[in-house]
């Protein structure tokens, strides 16, 4: 099937099999391998991207369902000149990643959280990030990173 979708602001036309997941279309057809796959059945959160601003498991959505949608992936977080997004900066500084397998999903989940709830406390961060599994860090660095990015973003907002 032929589909058109926008990824990180750029429009793409693709021909995909109906069973192609959005995650595989991003990775295999568009070469955007920043979106990772762990379990491929919805439980690990590694593949989380934003579709029309909402967080979505890209392994549980078929690419044909994204027809006409705007998809945001981890590749779109940093500035075009490579300047890291405050969340990426904070994950680096706070040791919010080790192997990095979970990181793209963590970043996109956190990006959505901070968009809808700019000032979450640590309990809220833990609750909202609970759908993303990390086998390396023990999570403390991830919670630190999201809290510190929230503070940095609030600072940026200030006039």
């Amino acid at each position: 099937m032929r589909i058109t979708l926008t990824v990180n602001g750029e429009q793409h036309r693709l021909t995909v099999e109906p069973r192609r997941t959005l995650a595989d279309a991003l990775r295999e057809d568009l070469g955007l391998t920043g979106t990772h796959l762990g379990c491929e059945h919805g439980v690990c959160g590694a593949c989380t991207v934003l579709v029309d601003g909402e967080p979505v498991r890209a392994c549980l959505m078929f690419a044909v369902q994204a027809e006409g949608c705007a998809v945001a992936t981890v590749e779109g977080l940093a500035e075009p000149d490579g300047t890291l997004h405050p969340l990426q900066e904070a994950f680096s500084v706070c040791h919010g990643l080790q192997c990095g397998a979970c990181t793209p999903g963590m970043l996109m989940t956190a990006a959505h959280l901070l968009a809808v709830e700019p000032d979450p406390d640590r309990e809220r961060i833990r609750a909202e990030m609970a759908g993303n599994i990390c086998r390396c860090t023990g999570y403390v660095g991830i919670v630190d990173a999201v809290a510190s990015a929230a503070a940095a973003l609030a600072q940026d907002e200030r006039p």
Partner: protein
Amino acid sequence: MKCARFSYHRAVDVADAVTALAEADGEGKLLAGGQSLVPVMALRMAAPEVIVDVNRIPGLDHLEVHDGVLRAGALVRHAALAGQTLHPLAAAAARWIGHAAIRSRGTLAGSLAHADPSAELPAVLRACDGAVHVAGPGGSRRVDAAALFTGALQSDVGEDEMITAVELPCPDAWGFAEFARRHGDFAVVSVAAARFGSELRIVVGGVAGTPHLVPAGDLDGPLDDARVASLADAAADDVDPPSDLHGSAGHRRALTREMTRRALASVAATPAREPV
């Protein structure tokens, strides 16, 4: 971990979806949020030949109250249900479902059709004595909550039928309590409680193949701590839960007592509604 091949039909309206299912002759499946169906397909526990995507059917995401009953379209997402204030019990229950990325896609009708024994919304439908509207080749019919859930992962929705709307009566007072091993996991035990006038309805999820209605009877006196405690004990006695890797029967029974106590404490604490 990749799904088997299927052909894809994007339904434009309910009639189109039902026709596509009929043409698939038992080999078709509706695709709503995909949060239960796609994992099952990825694990190759299901390999439908035809997928009928209902996500683009317009007009199925309405939420409105008429005569004390919330009427919700099939495609109301868990996130929308969690965010509304018309039916606080449904909102409280929906907040317990999975994670933000699950709630943004998963739908009310999908959850009811899927009928997971641990799912929150089937328990709420039963506690509120609600109903679903089902469209099929022969027209549409209404199925009460009591008849909808026929077993674990089984509902009275035929392979050529589609739930189009859900009716959830709004209780005068309500409570919802759940125990899960991790925030967003399926419940080990959940309890939905609803009071309509003097009728108290307590439904326990996670202890049987279908949501379990505890005979609670009429509330003749006040719902004070002693009454709450005795109803919680009665609920724990009434269930006959299974043992599995998420919890033993004894653990689930103890959880039934405590979750019932918590849900009823909220029922007792619900402020009286403004007369309208």
